[in-house]
Amino acid sequence: MQTNQLLALFSGAVLLLGLVAFFLGRAKAARVRAEGTAMVAQPDQYAWFAVLATAGPALVVSAVGAFLMLMLGAEIPTPYLLAASLVVAAAGLLVGMMQVRPDFHARQAIERVIRWILVAAAMISIFTTFGILFSIVFEALRFFQMHSFWEFITGTVWNPGASFLAAAGRGDEASSAAQFGSVPLFAGTFMITGIAMLVAIPIGLLSAIYMSEFAPSRVRTLAKPTLEVLAGIPTVVYGFFAAITVAPIIVNVAGFLGLDASFNNAVAPGVVMGIMIIPFISSLSDDVINSVPDSMRQGSLALGMTKGETIRDVVIPAALPGIISASLLAVSRALGETMIVVMAAGMRPNLTANPLEDMTTVTVRIVAALTGDLEFESAETLSAFALGLVLFAVTLSLNLVSVIMIRRFRDKYRVNNL
């Protein structure tokens, strides 16, 4: 609470100094100008420069101080740090006032600062990527110190069960019990992703073909945003739909066919995920098919091909890189999808080829490992980061391949809107 009050006091003081700087700066510039001296900048620009000179260094000093405290564990009492910042602000105010001179380019100075602020904002996205990478890699490395990487990649038993004992210093009782073989998790993930693709790719691609080649423009303008609605529905809602509505239907249908299906079968989340992904494929494929040059269609039709043959033999092959790229993006989306599988797929790691059994996925285990009451240091919690690392690597490479494919398509047909 006290830090909050201190911070409020500090912000108030900086704000006050800034205001003082603005009005003093403007008054001084106006006075100089009234004396008849020609100045290179407007009074307001001098005033803004004074504000920047006052507040900027002060904020930088306090930010650096906070950073030092966090990163290096330096012991700087907060009141001293803030007081130092205020002294810097006062000094900045003085400098700002002294810079109100006829030959000082205040506007250019301001714009240089603005430019640096913009650069800093742009760097945040890079920091985010590195933040994700570092946070995952760091914790994953700690996990791989406890369990071998090879066992993680090739093991077929995922049984983190007793790893919390090891974390509690009773490792000898349990060290043999905890096993982290991720193969069943990836098998489950790929099974559900595969089912999703079986639903999404045919329906999405055929919808795209219809919308771009056959549909009258009124249907097209209506259908495209309607399909987008599918992509806008929150995944938690799809998860509920899969668990409550689709899974029982699948169990009933399987029972009717004489098959035994679990309520947490892989088909329900797979199908629902496929429905969710339809618009990803249809939207991008539609754009790609539309940007295949019309001259190719005209050439094909002029040779006597029917419309269907033109689409099958000319348009689709030409658009293939784009379609593959769309499908890869969809696969990466399906691999990382969390809520649908958390709510509708099982929790039990199960290495099986039968989609009617319950099986679990990478994302389910990440959520399970991080929502329990476990110590953060335990192997199970850290295993979430190891799984996250693999997920990151797989989706990243899929995205990169997809970008390269679409770039190849773009270069070939010289389209710019993709």
Partner: protein
């Protein structure tokens, strides 16, 4: 020329038939996608609409001595089992707060418990036949009825289905979205401004661009891992708070806002920039006074769409702990909170039948908000879109 005309025309017929088949199949798959959508919404409405109604019982409350200790004593012995236990527990407190009540009686409509509620709605319940008959009688005499469920909108979460509401989740959502917008909007717009208007075409710029496209495709759960490892474990931001949730979602929304803003900036024709440069504006003045105002509708549209996307996101919030059980509404950025999709997730995990309805009701509220936001974005675009 071995083929006769008949052969060729027969072949042609087959080829045209195949062409027509492709048309029908592709049309059918679009129809199928549409059908999914219709089925989905029908199912949600069917499951969720009953949540907006709730069974109430009319009871005669007799504030006697016993009721001071045990609320149940204030009610008629036959009706008491129908009343929500959450109401019974309030009675001793009511008498304590207002001693004048003691010895008086009062007619009141109070919450029925969820079994009665489910029975009235025709769902599966655990009541036996005698109890069901008794309720039917009370319904006929007008003492038990379904009414509009205000509790659902004025209460926080509860373990008793009939008292569970979405208010704390709505407040949490608003706080989280405020944080998200406050971080993602300025940073996103500034990044886009830099990339479109200022950046030289060098390695760094290319790196930033590739990186942004990449961030847009990273699974959302990985942002949760970032939030957990960096914001919570490293910077010590309070777990489960709207602050950490909002920061995590802000990083996720950033690429959406950047990409939308860049498109909007790019659609402002260069002639405007040239004219402004021509009258002596500096680069920043051109951007601030001419390009940015013209691109603003597009930026707003993109930000609203990004916000809607963030609002429906659950996975990263689960990882940073925003699935807490929050019965009381607290409007604080640093205390534990929950958001609408996380509330839906929590309710979906409850075993009671009555919670299925609550879940679907929460989903309907969430979907209405998202549809409203997206419609706003579409209208904004239609209204302000300029063709140059």
């Amino acid at each position: 020329m071995s083929q006769s005309f008949d052969d060729i025309s027969a072949q042609l017929k087959g080829r045209h038939r195949r062409s027509a088949r492709l048309k029908w199949i592709s049309m059918g798959s679009l129809g199928l996608a549409g059908l999914f959508l219709v089925l989905f919404f029908a199912d949600m409405l069917n499951k969720g609409l009953p949540a907006f109604q709730q069974a109430y019982v009319q009871v005669e409350l007799d504030y006697n001595e016993d009721a001071q200790r045990m609320g149940r004593a204030a009610m008629d012995r036959e009706i008491a089992p129908l009343v929500s236990r959450s109401f019974e527990r309030l009675i001793p407190g009511m008498i304590r707060d207002n001693p004048d009540l003691l010895g008086t009686t009062e007619q009141r409509w109070v919450l029925a418990n969820s079994e009665v509620d489910q029975y009235l709605k025709g769902h599966r319940n655990q009541l036996n036949e005698a109890e069901q008959a008794a309720i039917d009688e009370l319904v006929d005499s007008g003492q038990v009825a379904l009414k509009f469920n205000t509790t659902f909108f004025t209460n926080g979460d509860s373990k008793m289905a009939e008292r569970a509401g979405i208010l704390s989740a709505v407040v949490g959502t608003i706080l989280t979205m405020l944080v998200t917008l406050a971080i993602a909007f300025p940073i996103g717009v500034m990044t886009a401004l830099y990339l479109e208007e200022f950046a030289p075409d060098n390695r760094l710029t290319q790196l930033i661009e590739i990186n942004i496209n990449n961030l847009a495709a990273i699974p959302s759960i990985l942002f949760g891992l970032l939030g957990l490892a960096i914001f919570i474990n490293f910077f010590g931001v309070p777990r489960s708070s709207p602050l950490v949730g909002g920061m995590t979602l802000a990083l996720m929304t950033l690429p959406v806002i950047i990409i939308a803003t860049r498109t909007a900036l790019r659609s402002v024709p260069d002639s405007i920039r040239h004219a402004a440069f021509g009258v002596g504006c500096s680069r920043w003045q051109v951007v601030r006074d001419h390009v940015l105002p013209l691109a603003m509708p597009g930026i707003m549209t993109g930000s609203i769409i990004g916000l809607a996307q963030a609002m429906g996101e659950t996975a990263p919030l689960i990882i940073v702990g925003m699935v807490a059980f929050i019965p009381d509404v607290s409007a604080s950025f640093t205390q534990a909170a929950t958001v609408l999709p996380a509330q839906v997730f929590t309710w979906a995990g409850e075993p009671e039948r009555a919670f299925v309805e609550k879940t679907a009701g929460g989903i309907l509220v969430l979907l209405s908000i998202l549809i409203f936001l997206n419609a706003t974005a579409v209208i904004l675009r239609k209204k302000f879109e300029r063709r140059w």
